[in-house]
Symmetry: C2
Subunit: 429 residues, 2 copies
Amino acid sequence: MRIALLLTGDELMSGDTVDSNSAYIAQSLKDLGMTPRIKKVVGDDLELLTDSITELSSASDVLIVNGGLGPTVDDLTALALSKATGSNLTRNEAAMAHLSAWAEPRGFVVTESNLKQADLPEICEIVDNPVGSAVGFRCVWQNCMIICTPGVPNEFKKMVEGQVLPLIKSHAGIKETIKITRLRLFGITESGLQDIVNEKFPDWPKEIELGFRVQMPVIEVKLTSRGGQFDYLNDHWTEKFSNLFSDYVIGANGTRLTQALNKALAKSNKKIVTAESCTGGSIASGIVSEAGSSHVFDGAFVVYSNAMKQSVLDVPSSIIDEYGAVSEQVVLAMAKGALEKSDADMAISISGIAGPEGGTPEKPVGTVWMAWGEKDSLKARRFFLPMPRLAFQRTAASIAMDLVRRELLKLSTDIDYFSELKRKPKHIS
Amino acid sequence: MRIALLLTGDELMSGDTVDSNSAYIAQSLKDLGMTPRIKKVVGDDLELLTDSITELSSASDVLIVNGGLGPTVDDLTALALSKATGSNLTRNEAAMAHLSAWAEPRGFVVTESNLKQADLPEICEIVDNPVGSAVGFRCVWQNCMIICTPGVPNEFKKMVEGQVLPLIKSHAGIKETIKITRLRLFGITESGLQDIVNEKFPDWPKEIELGFRVQMPVIEVKLTSRGGQFDYLNDHWTEKFSNLFSDYVIGANGTRLTQALNKALAKSNKKIVTAESCTGGSIASGIVSEAGSSHVFDGAFVVYSNAMKQSVLDVPSSIIDEYGAVSEQVVLAMAKGALEKSDADMAISISGIAGPEGGTPEKPVGTVWMAWGEKDSLKARRFFLPMPRLAFQRTAASIAMDLVRRELLKLSTDIDYFSELKRKPKHIS
């Protein structure tokens, strides 16, 4: 299947909008085992748009046009398709009905300029838009299926899922079912994951396609099988994969690390308090970004200055003087203090050197101590995360959340996070 | 000037990488008064790449090719350009010298596959790459200037600034100087800004191009003048604009809101403490995301539960019972408590209903109270930000930071933030 994309809009050419629609359709097509062959982007220019439709459709089996469906004069897709195919624009009854049905319950009046959205090339049928005023439309011309879709990302996504993919499957004669399992992992790099898969699963079956995609700070793993007869194999290898990487799997499709942490807390019926220095409250704000966090989160103490560590969390000045603010002793005292000053069951504390200033030969920038656990079972670990300030803060906060998640689920907290960091080889790229 | 972009790379077609390079070049070209006319993206496919170079160069004055300069077999740009132009690949001495000069101090050995990066079409000259191993290269073919650039974003950006833009200016015969002034504003919408400009500056001179670009949570405003003779006019209108919007201007090119806040604190020689409920520490983590924050930030109390509001910040339970946790009285007590429990000079406190649960008819989701100021001059305000949870938290935290910035700079804190929110008209889009 030769698939082409054609995007239109001045805002795409000027760089004012970063196009996310084409990455979305490409990822969706991947699930069908397809990749777009070519993509073209043009401004709101009738001649260029018409020529591009002619050119791309003549060398493709499917052409997806995105954008230019709105009511204004710079929305030219229907007109360009009419010119390219020589099929006259006429008022499309189904499009008209959609427009009325969409506008009425919302209290809108269908204006003359809206009516333009119902004027489509005669050879076209509409493609339903469940969430917007502009319907899509499609035709087959010179053996190429041309599908015109709206530029608004959420309308485009719904149309891709509900209409465009089924149309492409049917045009390509794909009858087989496709089963996709998605898992989300934290704490391991893409290449680390690939190395372990190669080593531990030399017999990985060719019927199960394995794909990785980094979605910071997690990695999404996708197991795809085509044709219903391999669904059992997909389940079987998903289980084997999950078992091997059980430490790293935080959940299924779309799971965020903050969600996984809050879920583990809720399941254990425990509330957490954080005591943060170098992360400045980003662990807490991560937890609170999830709805329902009041059931698992009590509060946080951001003790950035040494004076606050002492006055708010009762960290003895003697241990700050003796061991320094970035030390095992201090993070343990911070966690202890946070538990005493709140009703939380668990604490996570963190103190490190985010940089760019403040490093020493013994404690360079990137050094960070964390302590976590319940009152009588606090643990501490040191990490070294030599990264720019913001990346350091995000990575440290993510590791802290994962340590608590692991502790709650009784998984090892002694794992080698992002071991890649240490062993990345030098190479010219 | 007809400018075309050609991007190459399987990772762009698969959607694994979202292309940011073309938005970058488009924004840079805008400074020259130019917009790319067409953009094409293809995978690592020699024939498609060759044909695309032929097609785009024949209909353009400038063709910028991006990607495919690396040492591996799927890096095909030089070969495709050689085929398209009929100019043989030969070892380019300047490219060779760059490669050696780049590799040696880094302790790399130039391998056979690296040498490929020095094999360029005979008609090409190199384009310097100050930060990477792969040089760019360029030629003029059939009156089109073709410039091949690396796909790695930071290498591409440096090359655009240092080499590509000057080449395009010279190819286009642009001799004039261009003066660009950039300002960053917070608290006003793009359309609100445009309305006020239209009303207050009916005499805005056509020689000064005014552009807006939303870079959440701020808006970047750009004043461009071409030809040295209008530089005085640029300065003059920048001053008029700055004066009219003085409340909203947080700084010049690239200024972040967190930076503006920290700068205002440092200038006033004051330290801040935050007392946060619904934002869960995101004001604090924003402040700490900036280097040097220890000079202006003491710490934060994230008092999410009512119990913590009482036990940590001494908020009387009676006022929580009487007025509710989201009330003027409670945020004032939170700010007062935070000042008492720290050495900070100023406090910002916040309590609101982030949703999706927890709203009531009197206090719907989106209601938020903030208090700020020094011990004897605390002020409080209520806002209504009916948005999804995350947007609510981000917007509320940003407004809180801006209130403190304004207080420190003795600007009004009684402004109508994002007044657009209230008066957005209903329309079909």
